[in-house]
Symmetry: C2
Subunit: 149 residues, 2 copies
């Protein structure tokens, strides 16, 4: 029974580490993006996701999944960005329930301005996390995920 309990505890500890690192990075991104581009982290996430999407458009529900947000929060998030002229809603031709969101020129522009801030803050946050013993192993593991060997 010790072995099973250990697995539970190992998972719990892994989750706490994950949550702690996530919280640290998100707080720093939140502050810097807000200061430099008047964007929250989710807002940046939306713009970034759209920019990496073929054709630069996504449906509401995809967006909700990409941001881990509820459908209603996504609606309002898109409202905010649309009001600022950073993206537009486009009615789906083939499925008239669906709505595509697409970056506008100024959306792309703002994203390009914000990206250096985002990247620099991320680098700094990871460096800080590196200094915290509990977080360092996870920070080391991250870059190895998608670039094996």
């Amino acid at each position: 029974m010790g072995i099973k309990d250990d697995a539970v505890e190992v998972r719990a500890q892994g989750w706490r580490t994950l949550a702690a690192l996530h919280g640290l990075i998100e707080s720093e991104l939140e502050r810097s993006l807000q200061a430099e581009a008047q964007l929250s982290v989710v807002e940046y996430t939306v713009l970034d996701a759209l920019s990496r999407q073929d054709g630069w458009h996504m449906r509401m529900q995809q967006l909700a999944r990409a941001t881990a947000l509820s459908a209603s929060a996504t609606t309002r998030l898109v409202n905010r960005l649309e009001d600022r002229g950073l993206l537009t809603r486009i009615l789906c031709a083939d499925d008239r329930r669906g709505i595509y969101t697409e970056l506008t020129a100024s959306g792309i522009k703002l994203l390009e301005e914000a990206r250096p801030t985002h990247d620099a803050t991320l680098e700094r946050a990871l460096a800080e996390a590196q200094e915290i013993p509990e977080l360092a192993p996870l920070v080391d593991a991250l870059p190895k995920l998608h670039a094996p060997v």
Copy 2:
């Protein structure tokens, strides 16, 4: 310059993966803990953190760090839990600005009831994440963090 750009992109991708896994796990925990114990994830985190603390008491600011929450949010979080009788505030004797929070008997009881739900949900969420190609490597890496070799 390609090398430097690559590092930036690797970090960004690592962060997206981390955020995605975090979001997935947190949503599931939120639902199950709310359903089984009327606790949000942060509320559970507070009770759990207190239970793993020597002497079972922590100061507000420690709690704020442990939950990655602002000071004001921590105040209200502790208010809620105190109103439900799950913990108590104890004035600090040596530093009269400070306030200790300590689990009550019913706080301990609720935590013990919620823990199995938490652990089972965590296991299930990680199993689900394992099925998602982008997340699987991170899920595999987690248990190796604190149990090297």
